[in-house]
Symmetry: C2
Subunit: 467 residues, 2 copies
């Protein structure tokens, strides 16, 4: 099995450093590891949204709902919401297996949230609740891939879940390159070129994966661009797999999130025109509830026979966890104006999102201020993906050490500063170019120190290897 | 994909009846559907264990732990345990992705629980926390199966997760038959015969699945029998996949649960002798927390290289849900004598287990009292698997209707009484024999009505078709 090996090698060094830092802290030139590698906000101190956790806590222990003391500890709208949710669950049994697609009432609530977001109808029957987005992606790959002759168009660079899942299911990844020059633009000409090349090799391309906002690239697609992508899928008979887990993470005024379903419907396309899957998750957004493993996929445009196959796949694992299901319904239907928690909820939500926007900007500016680094704006998601223009000597040193130049750079950075980034080779990149992914998630008060420590390392590195 | 098709056809009828019961209740000869089909205790009114839910509720909303009012709503040992658990989680972040194997401190606690149960060492490094037992089974099948030439020895009858998972991963199920005559005995001679037959067909048999206590068969293996199974796996170089999710569900005085690891260690076998996986889940036992999707597998006797592959597979889905992880640690380390909750916990626990034992006995006696039904004792688990000795005319009617005789019987039962059972064909059975699986989970006060309704149906059915 070929799974993210470069990422795991990096993990191994990291574990050694973590142990060394505990046993022998003076031996290292830094006093903490600064995790800029994984999109895991709460591991870096982001606090969960109070309202969401109140509701989960009450649903876990419904006996509380009958007690007057509960009002001293929980907001009244959280109590009311917990009641509403329990009413949607047969026997109020949050400890029972649900329907394999998830609890119907929660799916309907999510569908209502999607309809409110998009302005187009959505149905709870089309929602499959899953333990985060990853199992949903695996389910679709299982369905789409029968042999290595089945291809999936994937962006390069890409979140390696897709390459791993395609490899696990024995299919062929058909790469298309995002254009760094145009802010990681997704060009339909490139899609066509790669599709034709794959077809000429006898590969049947089944689907196109689009990650919007992008991971690891942080771009937000323009609506016009999305329309062309939809037309492309329709004309070529491809399933559009839309990874939309960062839909709430937009940091620039001039961009907005548009779901691919909304774009398709606004073009007049119905269920008959285009099979489309939208993946979403409770792990990202302003909530960042990675540990809860909640998520869903909305599937439209599939035949009843294919839907039945998807349902059977979902039912092999019985159901997703009910707390994650509840949380998915909450993020798609958060407190509204007039609710007791609304104001405090908005303060928490906007506080997180505006801080993420400031962090994204500060890191982008810092990277762009350095010799040998260029960095596109993080319009959305949780990442920057700067390009390293390394001196030939550094590339030579990396080759001598038996590693890719970006992996060499990341290793040296980690050893010198404790800052953890992921080398671009973990995501794929245009051959001969080097990048790294850096999250914008460290707490805001740590950003200046990270920037200064990074700058110091980088300048020394460039001095060491300047041609 | 061939996945449980007979079970799904049955589902379809069931959904129609559910709808009919809501729309047009007078059209049916019963006024509720009686679910004896799925091992889903809380869907049938079993209450969750209070202490477990208190701890989960607190861990979901850790802000409560600092408030004095919390003591009015939660037991003091639940509060203390929540603190202890949060201390095991970096940054107390229950909303962060954990280590892909699960939170180390919780794995250590589970290992301590295993060691206390077995009297042999266990290590948290060998524990992989999973979203219920099913994903753990899939992970092992993914690892063990490379092609259709890789075989897995599975009991017949068997819980169809195994056949589905083997089919999904493209391997070959090598059946071995449990001996109904000896109470669903697992005979090593039968294992040998089937192993040799598979080998003669060019199949490389990789592993043996044993479900103990049995599903759907409810037997508890004797320790002597387990020893022989361990010896067999060691001699034949097979991985022993031990489904031990019903380890707390034992209903007879003369049987005890022994883990296969304990049996192997008591024979003197170490990690060097035998690769062994034990699957466990929070969905069964007296807790029955199916909706929480918690579980673990303990793996021993694998090389570092194989362990690394398992770790990579686990990390493809990032981690299992943290609430499920916490719950898995709680079921392996429940309240102890002296804890505030201990007495009420024991009342809840023993109340559930003794009631399940009474229900198992009542149903078994009822089945055995009927013409044309024989039924082994449910020594453990949550099921009876009675054999139907059907008149030839009934078999003919089934064939005329295009269904298997046990599926025909189950359908007629459902239409006449609202009682839902699963036909034996969903689990596999000796060709020409017919069975059904019936859970012991309906609430105790409903059992007499179920029995009487079942009897009435069965007698009429036999009268209708008596040869």
């Amino acid at each position: 099995m070929i799974l993210l090996d470069s990422v795991y090698d990096h993990d191994f060094l990291l574990q050694n450093l973590q142990q060394e830092l505990q046993k022998n802290p003076d031996s290292l030139p830094f006093d903490e590891i600064l995790y800029c590698n994984i999109g895991n906000p709460q591991s870096l101190g982001q606090q969960p949204v109070t309202y969401f956790r109140e509701v989960l806590s009450l649903c876990d222990h419904p006996g509380l709902l009958d007690k007057s003391e509960t009002h001293a500890l929980y907001s009244s709208d959280a109590i009311e919401r917990a009641w509403q949710i329990l009413e949607k669950i047969a026997g109020r049994a949050t400890g029972a297996y649900s329907h394999s697609q998830g609890i119907k009432g929660l799916r309907d609530e999510i569908a209502a949230g999607i309809a409110a977001r998009d302005g187009f109808h959505a149905s709870g029957d089309n929602i499959f609740l899953t333990d985060g987005a990853s199992p949903a992606v695996h389910m679709m790959m299982q369905l789409l891939i029968g042999s290595e002759k089945d291809g999936i168009l994937c962006p390069i660079p890409q979140y390696p879940l897709y390459s791993a899942s395609i490899a696990l299911h024995g299919g062929s990844l058909v790469p298309y390159f995002l254009d760094e020059e145009t802010g990681w633009g997704l060009e339909v000409d490139e899609l066509k070129k790669q599709l034709e090349e794959a077809r000429s090799k006898g590969i049947t391309v089944r689907a196109l994966v689009v990650i919007n906002p992008g991971n690891p690239t942080g771009q937000v697609l323009a609506e016009e661009n999305q329309k062309k992508i939809v037309e492309f899928c329709k004309n070529e008979g491809l399933v559009l797999l839309a990874d939309e887990v960062y839909q709430e993470n937009i940091y620039v005024e001039d961009k907005q999130f548009h779901s691919f379903k909304k774009v398709a419907r606004s073009l007049g396309y119905t269920d008959d025109d285009l099979p489309l899957v939208s993946f979403h998750s409770v792990s990202k957004g302003y909530y960042g509830e990675c540990g809860k493993r909640g998520g869903y996929m909305e599937i439209t445009g599939f035949s009843p026979e294919v839907r039945e196959q998807i349902y059977k796949l979902a039912s092999v694992n019985l159901c997703s966890n009910v707390s994650g299901q509840i949380l998915a319904s909450l993020v798609m239907n958060p407190p509204k104006a007039g609710d007791e928690s609304f104001e405090s909820f908005m303060v928490e939500r906007d506080g997180i999102l505006s801080s993420l926007a400031r962090r994204a900007k500060a890191l982008e500016e810092a990277f762009n201020s350095l010799e040998g680094i260029t960095c596109n704006k993080a319009e959305g998601a949780m990442y920057l993906f700067p390009r390293l223009h390394l001196p030939q000597k550094a590339i030579g040193a990396a080759h001598a050490a038996g590693t890719a130049p970006d992996a060499y750079y990341a290793k040296r950075l980690l050893e010198a500063t404790g800052i953890v980034i992921v080398p671009g080779s973990g995501f794929g990149q245009v051959p001969g170019t080097w990048h790294f992914r850096c999250t914008i998630l460290p707490q805001e008060d740590k950003i200046p120190a990270i920037i200064s420590s990074f700058k110091e390392f980088h300048e020394k590195f460039m001095d060491e290897f300047r041609d």
